[in-house]
């Protein structure tokens, strides 16, 4: 094994570790819904290569409005799925799409893009 091979091997191994850390240990961006008039909880979520915030906390039993603003035209994020609430929506690019729901059971409910690549979760407590 010559020098360049040793360098590539070391760099590669380091890079693999970095990729794992970069994607799997990414911190969540958490937001807690603010209740307005009549207990309506609203959160605006930016959709651009991911959801930010990607963890949304809401209170049980109160109506929730999630405003998804899709700030890109890339195909991956065009569909939004909230399977536990039977919601499948198309998010038009550069527009806000509002999803309304009323959580009546505490728990963590995932929301994802149409293919499950981008993900976030709705925490009801």
């Amino acid at each position: 094994m010559d020098t360049s091979q040793i360098i590539v091997t070391l760099l590669g191994t380091g890079l693999i570790g970095f990729v794992g850390w970069f994607f799997f240990a990414a911190p969540h961006r958490v937001a807690t819904a603010v209740a307005g008039n009549g207990g309506l909880q609203q959160v605006t979520i930016q959709v651009k290569g991911g959801y930010s915030p990607d963890v949304v906390e809401v209170a049980l039993g109160q109506p929730v409005q999630l405003h998804f603003y899709r700030d890109e035209a890339a195909g991956c994020s065009e569909e939004l799925l909230l399977p536990d609430f039977g919601i499948r929506r198309e998010l038009p690019a550069f527009q806000t799409t509002t999803v309304e729901l009323r959580p009546d059971k505490a728990g963590t409910y995932p929301f994802t893009c149409g293919m499950g690549m981008l993900r976030g979760s709705l925490i009801v407590r």
Partner: protein
């Protein structure tokens, strides 16, 4: 569809009080000042209008009116009567749940066109780049072309593919990286990006490569071809995806646009959004029923197949419910609107199907877990591939080989197929169900239907019609049924009793086989609680219960007496008929087995399902019906409260039970069963207890539901299998795992064919559209 708050302006609400309201109408057809004053006068004189001003230049009328006396449609009628038109701007989408979101469709169409253009550019350039890259295969040609010039030429050709056609991938990957997420786009961006950057370096600084003992090869053809192929996949995918939701779009498209409403004694065509409950609507032959309501006058046959899947038209008359989107065939009628907008049966069906399409199947859980970590792991595998090839390949070739295999691994991996496997099949399956009158609540119900091995049927209303019919007709000696039936039918036609309807139907059926003339009844008298009488063809005809005959001092012959006792023993309701003071016939009336039940039960059995019947009838009657329809196992004398217990009993035997019932009386049993199928009969769509609601009220719907569910779940399994196998085989081959044994290496360009793997999954799901129930 409340996803566009900006357009959620409330529709004009129903008149509430006497407070005057102001509305602006866009008037069309005014050419001069006298026209405008004419319209102004016409409006001002209309009862209910307080003030009207017309602006000719703006072509607008501003009207102040009392909402309890007149409404928008009334104002419009007044303008039209004056000889002008009111221009109606398209109603905002949110005011009508069913209005297809045209703007969204428009955007999608534009996105698709854009995608197609980017694909075309990529294809044209790739087709030029490919042969140019292969010039080295002809040494004679190569001798005349300078290598650097060729490389710079290729670079120029590749740049538009990268920056225009493939731009989306890089932007999306970059956005993802900023969020520390990775998607399909990340894989494509890294793969093509690496090939391009390597080629760029080889083009700009070939001397550097040569000093390292490397041939400065370029991979522009790889870059361009991969992007072109992936875009081809996306074009095909986008086309196929549009088809998966075609069924629901068709449902939404069924809705009528306008209704002919009676306003102040006048017929006015108003947009559907302005129709209110309580309005009276006229429907002519061949027209679409605008919304749900109850018939006030007239009779007709309606085609309800779009809602129920039942292909035969349904006869309707005064008091019957009609539903929006159904088509009036023969007669004209007037109905009172009972439901509009989201409360109509059609809207509920659409909502139910949409909800089902958004639900997630439990079977998908594993696929979900994998796709969540898929892309980062593939990137790590690709780096490992690079390292291993670099470490093990011969010195002169190691960099190109490491690079080519690194790119191949990134490009072949296809998380899309995994992600599309389940939802596309569910979308096609549920949409298709709706067009057959089978409403599937969610993906879980589909999966349950796949596991079911026993179907429990509640007899009344499912196997049998739940409405009385004449089962026996016995005449006295010397009386011909063919001569008697027209007389009885003439009397019963005038009666409104359900038993009378049974006699009429029976007479009509008999007459079809041996046509005779129809008689007219005069002096009709309904004897409350006993029957009816009239004069037909000069003879006094009586038909009713035994008391009716006794009150008229009519005595039964011993033969009829004996027959009556026999019928009563068989749990029949007996009708007695007398002509000219003499008892002439008996009719046994009972709930009868539907024509379709026998065939449907046989089909269920041939699907490998055990069919069990339960009924409140006594053992003898139950056994008779069971034998008639080919059921071997049944429960008799089941009290309504015990129905759920019977479900439990079957479950205790280790069976997965589907319960079929009417949805109202059977709710606990439906909820108890692994899968509840409610026979709605077109009335109540959203039945909570049922996993599947059948709009058609016969067992054929159960056959369709079971077969369709099974076929859908089978499709999901095929898709998931394909996606898993594809990735678990494709990635190692792309990494060059077979190279030591067979010398095989996968060209990254070939790997780009993976774009077609998601198309194959979609195509497999679309195959469901050809679903047919085998007879």
């Amino acid at each position: 569809m409340n996803n566009t708050p900006a357009t959620s302006a409330a529709p004009p609400s129903a008149p509430t009080g006497a407070a005057p309201r102001t509305e602006t109408l866009h008037i069309e057809g005014m050419t001069c000042a006298s026209c405008s004053s004419f319209v102004e006068k016409a409006l001002s004189r209309t009862p209910g209008v307080l003030r009207a001003t017309v602006n000719l230049a703006a072509e607008k009328a501003t009207v102040e009116y009392a909402p309890n006396q007149i409404d928008h449609a009334g104002l419009k009628a007044a303008v039209e009567q004056a000889g002008y038109q009111v221009f109606e701007p398209d109603a905002p989408a949110a005011s009508n749940v069913l209005a297809a979101d045209e703007e969204l469709a428009d955007r999608k169409a534009r996105t698709y066109l854009d995608l197609k253009r980017r694909f075309q550019v990529a294809v044209v350039l790739a087709v030029i780049i490919m042969p140019l890259s292969m010039l080295m295969l002809w040494p004679a040609l190569m001798a005349r072309v300078s290598m650097p010039v060729l490389n710079y030429g290729l670079l120029l050709l590749t740049l538009p593919v990268l920056l225009y056609s493939g731009r989306e991938f890089y932007v999306s990957a970059w956005n993802g990286l900023r969020h520390r997420t990775a998607s399909m786009d990340t894989l494509i961006a890294v793969g093509t990006g690496a090939a391009f950057l390597y080629s760029l370096a080889a083009t700009v600084a070939p001397d550097f490569f040569q000093r390292q003992g490397l041939v400065p090869d370029v991979y522009y053809d790889t870059t361009a071809t991969i992007i072109a192929l992936i875009l081809l996949g996306k074009v095909l995918e986008s086309r196929a995806k549009a088809k998966t939701s075609a069924a629901i779009k068709a449902l939404i498209g069924l809705q009528a646009k306008t209704a002919r409403v009676l306003r102040g004694g006048q017929e006015v065509d108003v947009p559907l959004e302005q129709v209110r409950p309580g309005d009276e609507v006229l429907v002519r032959p061949g027209e679409k029923v605008a919304t749900d309501g109850i018939i006030l006058e007239g009779r007709s046959a309606l085609d309800e197949s779009m809602l129920t899947g039942e292909s035969l038209p349904v006869d309707k008359s005064v008091g019957d419910a009609v539903f929006g989107a159904t088509i009036n065939k023969t007669g004209s009628f007037r109905f009172r609107v009972s439901q509009v907008g989201t409360n109509t049966v059609l809207a509920q069906i659409v909502k139910l199907v949409e909800d089902a399409q958004g639900s997630r199947a439990p079977i998908q859980r594993l696929a979900d877990k994998i796709s969540a970590v898929f892309v980062p792991i593939v990137i790590m595998l690709a780096i490992a591939t690079f390292v291993v090839w670099f470490a093990l390949a011969p010195t002169g070739q190691r960099l190109p080989l490491a690079l080519v295999n690194f790119v191949a691994v990134l490009i072949i991996a296809c998380p899309c197929a995994l992600g599309l496997a389940t939802p596309t099949a569910i979308m096609v399956g549920t949409g298709l169900g709706a067009s057959h009158g089978v409403l599937i609540r969610n993906a879980e119900a589909l999966e349950k239907a796949y596991q079911v091995d026993t179907v429990l049927l509640d007899k009344t209303g499912t196997i049998t019609k739940g409405e009385p019919a004449v089962t026996e007709f016995i005449t006295a000696t010397g009386t011909e049924p063919a001569a008697l039936l027209p007389l009885l039918a003439a009397v019963e036609r005038r009666s409104e009793h359900p038993l009378a309807a049974a006699v009429v139907r029976y007479a009509e059926e008999q007459q079809q086989s041996a046509p005779g003339e129809t008689a007219e009844a005069t002096d009709f008298v309904a004897h409350e609680g006993r029957g009816a009488g009239a004069t037909v063809a000069g003879q006094a005809v009586l038909i009713g219960n035994r008391r009716l005959l006794e009150e008229n001092n009519i005595i039964l012959s011993p033969k009829l007496e004996q027959s009556a006792a026999g019928l009563l023993a068989q749990a029949r309701t007996v009708l007695y008929a007398a002509v000219a003071g003499r008892a002439v016939a008996l009719a046994g009336v009972a709930d009868t087995v539907r024509d379709t039940s026998v065939a449907a039960i046989r089909q269920l059995q041939s699907q490998g399902l055990t069919v069990v019947m339960m009924t409140g009838d006594n053992h003898q009657t139950a056994e008779k019906v069971a034998r008639q329809v080919g059921i071997t196992r049944f429960y008799a004398e089941v009290l309504p409260a015990d129905k759920a217990g019977k479900v439990q009993e079957l479950q205790a035997e280790g069976r997965v039970v589907a319960m079929v019932g009417d949805g109202i009386n059977d709710a606990p049993a439906l909820a108890r069963a692994d899968l509840g199928l409610a026979m709605g009969g077109g009335t109540d769509v959203a039945m909570e207890a049922a996993g599947i609601t059948l709009m058609r009220s016969d067992l054929q719907g159960v056959v369709t539901a079971m077969a369709l569910s099974r076929q859908t779940v089978r499709t999901i399994c095929q898709n998931l299998f394909f996606a898993f196998v594809y990735n678990t085989l494709g990635i190692p081959i792309a990494a060059g795992l077979l190279y030591p044994f067979t010398g095989w290496l996968l060209s990254p360009m070939l790997a780009a064919a993976m774009a077609l793997s998601s198309v194959s999954v979609l195509t497999n799901s679309l195959r469901l559209r050809g679903f047919k129930v085998k007879g």
